[in-house]
Amino acid sequence: MNIIVCVKQVPDTAEIKIDPVTNTLIRDGVQSIMNPYDKYALEMALELKDSMGAKVTVLTMGPPQAMAILKDSIAMGADDVALISDRAFAGSDTLATSQAMVAAVKKVGDFDLILCGKQAIDGDTAQVGPEMAEHLHLPQVTGATKIVIEDGRVLVDRDNETTVQTIAIPLPALVTVARSEKEPRFASIKGKMKARKMEIPTWSAADMNLDVNIIGLKWSPTKVAKVFTPPAPEIISEIFHEEDLQVAVDKLVEKLLAAKIIVR
C-alpha cells in the first residue's frame, strides 16, 4: 500500500501576539512547526504502515526552510519525502497550491491513499485537500477521526455537526484528518539519524512539468485586497478595582441588577 501525506510548515499561531503600541504582529521568537492536523495525518499513515505495511511518502510545498518538517517526518518513520519549492509558486492561493500539489502527487506516481490535515492553523481554509481530490477525480472524506482499510475501501469516522458518521469510499481516495486516535509519535533515535543523513529532494515547477505561467500569484483566482488588524472594540466598561473583593462583588451585582442582567 502506498500512502502520500501532504504537510505544511506553519507559524505556531498560539504563540503570536499583537504589539499593543504598533498594532502589528510580533513574530520574533514564534516557532515554525509542522501543522498539527498534518501531524495527525502522518501518525495515521504510520499506524497503517505498522499494522499492514505501507510505503509512506511525505510532500510539502514551501520555502527551503520547510525542509525541517520533512526531516521530522523521516525521523517519525516516513519512507520518502520531497520538497516542492520554486519562487514561481510564491503567492499561490488554495487553488494554485492544490494544482502544484497534484503535479507532485503525479510525479510520485503510484498511490492508494492521500492523507492531508483537515486544515492548516495559519490560513484555516481546509480547501487544499478537497481541491486536490477534485483535480485527481478521487472520492474524499473530510475531517477524519479514525480510518480503517477494508476490502479495497477506506472506512472513515468523522464528526459532523450533530452526528458521528462512518463513511466508506473506494481506494484510491483522499482523506483529510481532524485527529488521530493516538497522539503523534516522537522521533526515534534511528529515525533522527536517518533524517540527518538524508538528502531531501527539491522539486521545482520545471521538475514537475508545470508551466510557470499557470502557477503562483498570477494564476491564483483570489487576491488579498487588504490585510488589517481587527479594530479594537469601543466599549464603555466599568471595571471594579477594590482592595476588598466583597465590595467589588457588591458593586458589580448592583450594576447587573440595575441593567437587568440579573433579575430578582
Binding site: T13, I16, I18, T24, L25, I26, R27, A90, G91, T94, L95, S98, D122, Q127, G129, P130, E131, A133, E134, P139, T142, G143, D159, N160, E161, T162, T163, V164, Q165, T166, I167, A168, I169, N213, G216, L217, K218, P221, T222, V224, A225, K226, V227, F228, T229, P230, I235, S237, I239, F240, H241, E242, L245, Q246, A248, V249, L252, V253, L256, I262
Partner: protein, 403 residues
C-alpha cells in the same frame, strides 16, 4: 513573494514599517527594507508610502484570462446561498446567509437565490423565500437525502453552468467546507474560507476573514474568475424575521448528467447531547480559564450557571488540561458563541478565545491581572482572583434570587 522598495528614493518616514501587519518591513541606515521571507505581499504599505517607492513583487496582469475555464465574462448574475438541510429542514446558517445575501443583492441590483438539493422539497422553498430568497432552485432525488460530496458537487456545478450566478455563499459547516472547495476546483474559481464579514461593490464581493489564528483580518477578492465563492461562518449574521407574504420564483431543475455517489454512509448516529453541548444556543454562559486553578473549581462555575440558567464554557487551556470536555470549548478552535451574557472567570482573553465570544452582548470579566486583554472587551469586570470572587458572587446572587 514580497514587495520591492526603491531604497534610493525612500525618505525614511517609517510609515510603511508601522502599517505592515506582519512586521516584515524595517529600517536600515534610515531607509525601509523588507524581510522577503516574512512579507506576504498584501500591499498594505504601498498606499502608505508618501513618495511611491514601494511596489508589489509581481505585476498582476492576466492577458490570458479570456481563455481560462471559469473566467468572469461579466454576464454572471445573482448571488446564491447553498440551502444546506438536516433531515430535510434548512439549518440555521442558511437563514443567516439569506438575510445578508438579500442585502448584498439589493445593493448590487441582483437577485438572492437559494439552492436546495433534497429528497423531498415540501414547503422548504416557501420558507427560503420568506427568509429572503427571490428565487429557489430545487433539485430532488433519493441521492440528496443525505449530504454526499459526489452528487451534491455534480448537481451544484450543473446549476452553475446553466444559470451562471456571480457569487455563491456556503455556510462554513462541516459539510459546507467539504462541498465548497470541491465546487471551486471543478469550476476553476476562487473560494474564500470561513468569512466573518461581507460587502459588495458593483458585482465584486469583498470577503473578509480572520487569518493567523484570528490575529489579522484579510479582505479577499476574486475578480477574474466566476462564480466568486466563499464559505461563511455560522452565527456571524442575524436571520431576518420570516415574511410569509414574500413572493419568489421556484425553479425545479432536472439534473442531466447524474453521477453515482462513491461514498457509502455506514453510520450516522446523533451525538449524545449534554446540557453543555448547547453552549452555542445558550443565552448565558459562564466560562472558566486557567485562573480557576483546577478541575474541582469548575463545580462552582456549574453552580453559578445553574443559578442564572446558563451553560458552562471553557478556554482552550482548560480543555487541554482536561478540566472540561471539548464540546464546551469557546474560541477559534472550539465554538463561536453569541449569548446575551458571557462571564469569563480567570480567562486572560487570547485572540483565539476572543474570536469565539467577543460578539456576546454583555461580557463580564473577572481576572487578577488588570492588564489582561479580556478587560478591553468587557462591559463589566472585577480585578481580582476569580477563585475568591466566584463564591462571593454565587452567595450574593443566591441571596437575591431567594429574597
Amino acid at each position: 513573494m514580497s514587495v520591492t522598495i526603491d531604497r534610493d528614493n525612500c525618505i525614511g518616514c517609517e510609515n510603511c514599517v508601522s502599517i505592515c501587519p506582519v512586521g516584515a518591513l524595517y529600517m536600515v541606515d534610515g531607509k525601509a527594507d523588507v524581510k522577503e521571507d516574512d512579507c506576504i505581499n498584501c500591499g498594505a504599505c504601498i498606499s502608505e508610502c508618501p513618495v511611491n517607492v514601494i511596489s508589489l513583487g509581481d505585476s498582476v496582469e492576466d492577458s490570458k484570462t479570456e481563455e481560462v475555464l471559469g473566467a468572469n465574462t461579466g454576464k454572471e448574475k445573482d448571488l446564491w446561498v447553498f440551502a444546506e438541510t438536516d433531515n430535510g429542514e434548512p439549518i440555521q446558517v442558511v437563514y443567516e446567509l439569506l438575510a445578508e445575501t438579500a442585502i448584498l443583492a439589493k445593493k448590487s441590483g441582483q437577485r438572492c437565490g437559494a439552492v436546495l438539493l433534497t429528497k423531498d422539497a415540501g414547503n422548504v422553498p416557501q420558507k427560503l423565500i420568506a427568509a429572503g430568497a427571490d428565487v429557489v432552485y430545487v433539485v430532488t432525488g433519493q441521492e440528496y437525502a443525505f449530504y454526499n460530496t459526489d452528487c451534491y458537487t455534480n448537481a451544484f456545478c450543473e446549476l452553475i453552468k446553466k444559470y451562471q450566478p456571480s457569487a455563491i455563499l456556503v455556510g462554513a459547516t462541516v459539510d459546507g467546507r467539504d462541498l465548497g472547495p470541491r465546487i471551486a476546483a471543478r469550476m476553476n474559481t476562487g473560494l474564500c474560507a470561513d468569512c466573518t464579514a461581507l460587502d459588495i461593490e458593483g458585482k465584486i464581493v469583498y470577503w473578509t476573514r480572520p487569518a493567523l489564528g484570528g490575529n489579522i483580518l484579510a479582505t479577499i477578492l476574486c475578480e477574474e474568475r466566476s462564480p466568486q465563492m466563499g464559505t461563511v461562518r455560522p452565527k456571524v449574521f442575524k436571520p431576518a424575521v420570516p415574511d410569509m407574504e414574500r413572493t419568489g420564483e421556484i425553479v425545479v431543475f432536472e439534473i442531466q448528467n447524474k453521477v453515482e455517489n462513491r461514498g457509502e454512509l455506514l453510520r450516522n448516529d446523533p451525538v449524545v447531547e449534554t446540557s453543555a453541548m448547547k453552549i452555542d444556543e445558550a443565552e448565558m454562559i459562564c466560562s472558566g480559564g486557567r485562573g480557576l486553578g483546577c478541575q474541582d473549581n469548575f463545580k462552582m462555575l456549574e453552580n453559578l450557571a445553574q443559578l442564572l440558567g446558563g451553560a458552562v464554557g471553557g478556554s482552550r487551556a482548560v480543555v487541554d488540561e482536561g478540566w472540561i470536555d471539548h464540546p464546551h470549548q469557546v474560541g477559534q478552535s472550539g465554538k463561536t458563541v453569541t449569548p446575551k451574557i458571557y462571564f469569563a472567570f480567570g480567562i486572560s482573553g487570547s485572540v483565539q478565545h476572543l474570536a469565539g465570544m467577543s460578539k456576546s452582548d454583555i461580557i463580564i470579566a473577572i481576572n487578577k491581572d488588570e492588564n489582561a486583554p479580556i478587560f478591553e472587551h468587557a462591559h463589566y469586570g472585577i480585578v481580582g482572583d476569580a477563585l475568591v470572587v466566584l463564591p462571593k458572587l454565587i452567595e450574593k446572587i443566591r441571596a437575591i434570587k431567594e429574597s
